[in-house]
């Protein structure tokens, strides 16, 4: 395998460059996926039937906390990738671990939020609005959950095998995925929660 040492590890082989390019295309598909879910949400968000509307169930504090955790995790994973470029395995792993813990915190609050909704009688079957809301949030949450396990698998590999073109490539692609989830969340925060709270 040819290794081009003028490039960062994650780009250093032909195969790695293909994988990063391919992953960008895949993210294009993910954008379409979430765009469709948003479109569904906006079609249905006023169709609350006899159930509650957004203003009645949304609470700002937990959502702000979620936003803070996820934004912070996007920052720490950036630091992790930076450490990786410097070849500092220990710092890289530390930042990745912090990222995953922040992600878990996010998930914890989200689960709590869902439980609260259900206690208030706002379930996924109550109205079209709630079906759309919970599917959108749930899809994002499922992505974060999947990302958590993915991140763990990568950490184990980096711990065992060190930083080499393969592990660096995986870690980098994972960071793209994680940033993407953050971006999607910003949209959810602004157009679902803030907008819902205002109206």
């Amino acid at each position: 395998m040819k290794i081009d040492s003028s490039l960062p590890l994650e780009y250093s082989t032909e195969e790695n460059r293909l994988k990063i390019f391919g992953f960008w295309i895949f993210l294009g598909a993910e954008i379409m996926l979430f765009a469709t879910l948003f479109a569904v949400y906006f079609t249905l968000h006023t169709r609350t039937g006899s159930g509650p509307d957004g203003a009645e169930i949304f609470e700002l504090t937990p959502v702000l906390l979620e936003t803070f955790l996820l934004l912070a995790s996007s920052f720490t994973i950036g630091l992790g990738v930076h450490a990786m470029r410097l070849g500092n395995k220990k710092a890289m792993m530390t930042f990745f671990i912090i990222t995953l813990i922040l992600g878990l915190g996010f998930l914890g609050i989200e689960i709590d939020e869902f439980v609260t909704y259900v206690h208030e009688g706002a379930t996924i079957t109550t109205s079209a609005f709630l079906s759309a809301l919970m599917t959108l949030l749930g899809t994002h949450g499922a992505h974060v959950t999947f990302g958590f396990f993915w991140g763990v698998a990568i950490l184990i590999q980096v711990a065992r095998r060190g930083l080499n073109p393969q592990t660096a490539n995986k870690a980098f692609i994972f960071s793209l995925y994680w940033h993407f989830l953050d971006v999607v969340w910003i949209f959810i925060f602004s157009f679902v929660y803030l907008k819902g709270l205002i109206s």
């Binding site: 293909l18 598909a29 249905l44 079957t125």
Partner: protein, 647 residues
Amino acid sequence: MSMEELFHPLQEPMILAAAISIVVGAVVVVAGLTYFKKWGYFYKNWLSTVDHKKIGIMYIAVALLMLFRGGIDALLMRAQTAVPDNGLLDAQHYNEIFTTHGLIMILFMAMPFVIGLMNIVIPLQIGARDVAFPRLNAVSFWAFAAGCGLLNLSFIIGGSPDAGWTAYFPLASTDFSPTVGNNYYSLALQLSGIGTLLTGVNFITTIFKMRAPGMTLMKMPMFSWSILITNVIIVFAFPVLTVALALMMLDRQFGTKFFAMTDGGMDMLWANLFWVWGHPEVYIVILPAFGIFSEVIATFARKNLYGYKSMVMSMVVISLLSFLVWAHHFYTMGHGVMVNSVFSITTMAIAVPTGVKMFNWLLTMRHGKIQFTTPMLYALGFIPIFTIGGVTGVMLAMASADYQYHNTMFLVAHFHYVLIPGTVFGVLAGYHFWWPKMFGFRLNEKLGKAGFWFIAISFNVTFFPLFILGLDGYARRMYTYSASTGYGPLNMLSFIGALGLAVGFALICYNIYYSWKHMPRNEKADVWDGRSLEWATHSPVPEYNFAIVPNVSRLDEFWFAKKEGRDITAGKIEKIHMPNNTGTPFWTSGFLFLAAFFAVFSLWIPAIISMLVVFGFMALRSFENDHGRYISVEEITETEKSLRGDK
């Protein structure tokens, strides 16, 4: 659910017969493999292969099988309606059959046929040794195969979907469609859709990043262009289907209210989501056919393609427009005048770039020395028939007039007039054209041409009467009609045509057997005196595709090099890196299949367990340390010699 309910479709003799033939077929294959002790061979060379050419062949094999399956559905429908008040099928079975016919023909016949050809040809045509992600390619195939298997299983266990391939709500909701049929729909399409999406990612990367040195995008053969655009459409359109199917499953099996009639649900949302994917899907199966015709026409007219740039441009425009026309599928479902007008105009606009392509093909043939080979016949037949389809399409595009023929046989005739010459003729042309690349021998031309004539003539006999019936008000999806309507004679004519079509397809299948027995082997690599790079390597193609990756400096480099007596595949052989075969994609999809099957019956615990196994396989794959292998210089030299025939 009682046993009787579970196997309720089997109480119909025709369906029982179909089920038995599927089971017998499976038993014969299994017994044959066991008897000839070929399991090991079969597993090693096919089930676990990551070779794009073999994956392509498997796609085409499934597509042909499904053409047969969908064709039987079609014959049953035409037989049922051949005479008034016929009792061959009851309403429920007719519903199931037109649903599975449409689904199978589009998603499990046309799509895989196209994807099969692209798998075989694209890397060769762009001078690459492989696709970008060979293992992912195997995952794509097996996910698709799992979906295909699941849909066919619906015929035997639990009942097929019955709300049309469009599955409109509320018709497809549990209220109106209480069997598990539409659960099968959502899950089978979901699996195969994921496979298709991954193919999209794979081939965009392959085409962008793995072209032979010197081959800029504007020096790329037209088929490769059409596939690039197709895959971009796939990546944008399929996630919409993924979401739509997930919502459908949630509504049907978890009681959400997306498409419900109460609690704020909105059935029209389904129609919109479905067609936002569904219309581009039509172009996903038709653009590759346009690409194939371009190759075939240029090759057999012995001329370079007229208007290369405008051909590319027109495909790009078609692909953009394809996302802006979806509402023309439901003009009558209550949008305002404004909405209908806008969609009416965008739809008619598609005729312009399509017309450009038509003229380019005609001008390519002008003054050419045309060879009437089988693939060329399909290309020539396509032009007039597709034009009828196109003209009737513009008729349908007029929203106000559509109120007259909406949901009549006129529509059925129209879309068969575009899909059959477009897609089916296209893939059949490609199949005859590239067959020698796959297997090293040609298909018999006499049988091939006989097949073409049967299909082309019977096609018109089958579908032209439907235009007239449609204008006469004969509604679509009607399982029977009374004699007083006067629809009888034309329906009978159409049935006779359908029988002719069956003969044509039988000839195509027989040709495989005949040619395998009788056609000479060791054809030269460049059987048709071709133009693009796939003809520069041997037939059949060695696993590494090209011993020496060709250098390209212009469009149709291979053709010009031939004329100038240059060999673009000369050079020093070096060792080649190849991926190892792996059974993981096969087994992963096996468990995906199980998960989906349990989910159809809402058996969530076993479904979750199967999904966990799937994730387990993914984790295993992540930890695996497999760097592939090298083919040595000696081995390549040996292979090259024996393929060239100088032992």
